[in-house]
């Protein structure tokens, strides 16, 4: 009896299906591989999955954060605490990464892998002969293009720290400059860069067409690493790098010339907020939009050691007036954030659950995007 009724109903359903029948689908071509435009739309973003659970198999995913369909555009591999930078001038992507002949052992090879933006195929690779590429939980200041993308600056760390200079026309490493006692690469001037130093000072180096050092300035300590260190991940707004401290200080540094200018500090928090220990924190915990607004992930009840855990709110500042203009309460706590450079900018939040929550810059939640079931996309690069 039961069987009978099943079939009767099924026949009805089948008839319905047949009633909707179309022309037969045509055979599809094999092989078929998708491509991307050479110039990416401005809502596309690079989400770097550091893949802690399998660090030799990281990736940089390309995601249209404005899309409700086909949001995942493709990816390039990024092995073993890789770092990444997009070229604005050329249709190229650069990945600094390391390989071992047997996956996790054997001979090490450090390379700059260069990808074509349209095909995402490797165009070439440049071997770093000293195998001294810095391996750190990645951030935006380990691999940088300067001078209209003519030079690629590559951080070395063995733990001796240095900056390698690659000419992007010849793809040759033309020099390596020691930055002993200091670390990271903050572009300054046309061909210069600055690094923060362990004594609370700063070093600034400029180089010539052949990568030779032409000037070096060591700044006296201007902050206390012990009492209130500046985070090593500033946000650039125009030529000004906004460094933030563990305890909410803002330290702007003018990077328009190869000898940076340290500007006056201001605070992200009121006295009451400071008392409640509202502090910035997370991984890539700050970002900026094109209007000069600074977005900072904030947490309450901060303490010695809370500076990498992210936060429940994003506070937005007008860097000109140094006033907070908005306070966004998040659905899920933020770990890293980024703002797209599109006409209608979008605020991209990598949450502590390691997925992307997309908001308007006013804090209206738009959509959730999964970067991968085991992905840890903790560094986000807005398309240039």
């Amino acid at each position: 009896m039961r069987l009978f009724s099943i079939k009767a109903l099924a026949i009805t359903t089948l008839t319905l299906v047949v009633g909707l029948a179309q022309a037969e689908l045509q055979p599809e071509p094999i092989p078929s591989v998708a491509t991307l435009p050479a110039v990416y739309p401005d809502t596309w973003l690079f989400a770097h999955d550091v893949n802690f659970n399998s660090m030799i198999a990281g990736k940089v995913a390309i995601i249209d954060v404005a899309a409700d369909t086909q949001e995942f555009k493709g990816f390039v591999d990024a092995s073993m605490m890789a770092s990444f930078v997009e070229s604005k001038e050329k249709p190229l992507l650069y990945v600094a990464e390391s390989f071992y002949a047997r996956g996790t052992s054997g001979e090490r090879t450090d390379v700059i892998s260069i990808y074509d933006k349209s095909t995402l195929r490797k165009v070439t690779e440049v071997v770093l002969p000293k195998k001294n590429r810095a391996q750190m939980v990645t951030n935006k200041y380990m691999l940088n293009l300067v001078d209209n993308d003519k030079y690629l600056l590559i951080l070395g760390f063995t733990p001796a720290s240095s900056v390698m200079i690659m000419d992007t026309e010849t793809n040759e490493i033309i020099n390596e400059i020691s930055i002993a006692g200091c670390n990271l690469i903050y572009p300054a001037g046309e061909t210069g860069f600055a690094s923060l130093c362990g004594n609370g000072g700063m070093k600034a180096v400029d180089f010539d067409d052949e990568g030779k050092e032409i000037s070096r300035v060591d700044f006296e300590p201007f902050f206390s690493v012990d009492d209130d260190p500046l985070f090593d991940k500033p946000v650039y707004i125009g030529d000004t790098a906004f460094f933030l401290s563990y305890k909410s200080l803002v330290q702007p540094i003018d990077m328009s010339t190869s000898v940076p200018v340290i500007k006056s500090t201001w605070s992200l928090v009121s006295e009451a907020e400071a008392k409640a220990n509202w502090r910035p924190g997370g991984w890539q915990f700050a970002a900026a939009d094109e209007t000069g607004h600074l977005y900072v992930v904030m947490h309450k009840d901060g303490y010695n050691g809370s500076h990498k855990f992210g936060g429940s709110e994003i506070w937005v500042y007008d860097t000109k007036t140094q006033q907070r203009v908005n306070r966004i309460k998040l659905k899920t706590n933020a770990f890293s954030i980024e703002v797209t450079r599109s006409d209608t900018p979008l605020l991209v939040v990598n949450t502590i659950e390691m997925g992307l929550d997309i908001y308007t810059t006013d804090g209206e939640f738009k959509r959730f995007i999964n970067v991968g079931d085991a992905a840890m996309p903790i560094v986000l690069h807005a398309g240039k």
Binding site: V17, T69, V371, A375
Partner: protein
């Protein structure tokens, strides 16, 4: 009548793996056949809740007569697929993500298109040469046979004949209508 049984069977299978938000018919099948206790896909953790994958936007192939969502495990072409859906990875149901290479050697399934009720030959070409995509892991095994019949098996890494054999994701390419329907 045999065909009808098969069709029903197919319907119930879909329900087992995916509680679809878009396929009313399969939900009907569920009620009809009463399949409820069939274990979920081990790899479908992310898709258990909705049938689609959270954080993955729905798609259409854009073809007339090709119903369903190529980013959903219950899309009709995927009746014997095993792997990450290329549709979720920068490709489509029938094309590979940028920078990967489509394997010329593959395994074959036969899936019924609910739009025209016809059985199509589907070629499950793997895309190769980048690390695992990591989105939309999907496993369905209609007519899947053990590895001693490789051309009907989805456990094999079909990244063969490609410059790299590293597996990235899987497509389901329409080859044509099955003659024995």
């Amino acid at each position: 009548m045999k065909l009808l049984d098969k069709w029903l069977e197919r319907g119930s299978r879909k329900v087992a793996q995916n509680t679809s938000r878009r396929h009313l018919l399969t939900n009907l099948s569920k009620v009809m056949i009463g399949v409820a206790a069939v274990p979920l896909l081990p790899v479908a953790r992310a898709s258990e809740a909705t049938g689609g994958y959270p954080g993955v936007g729905a798609q259409t192939s854009g073809l007339d007569g090709d119903p369903g969502d190529p980013t959903s495990c219950d899309y009709w072409r995927y009746c014997a697929i095993d792997g990450f859906l290329c549709s979720c990875c920068g490709g489509t149901a029938s094309s590979c993500p940028p920078g990967t290479e489509m394997s010329p050697i593959t395994w074959i399934g036969t899936c019924r298109n609910p739009a025209d009720g016809k059985d199509y030959i589907i070629s499950y070409n793997d895309c190769c040469g980048k690390t695992s995509c990591g989105r939309c892991l999907c496993n369905r095994n209609e007519n899947d046979k053990p590895v001693y019949r490789p051309q009907s098996n989805n456990d094999i890494n079909w990244c063969l004949g490609t410059s790299s054999n590293v597996y990235t994701c899987s497509t389901g390419v329409v080859l044509g209508v099955a003659v024995d329907g």
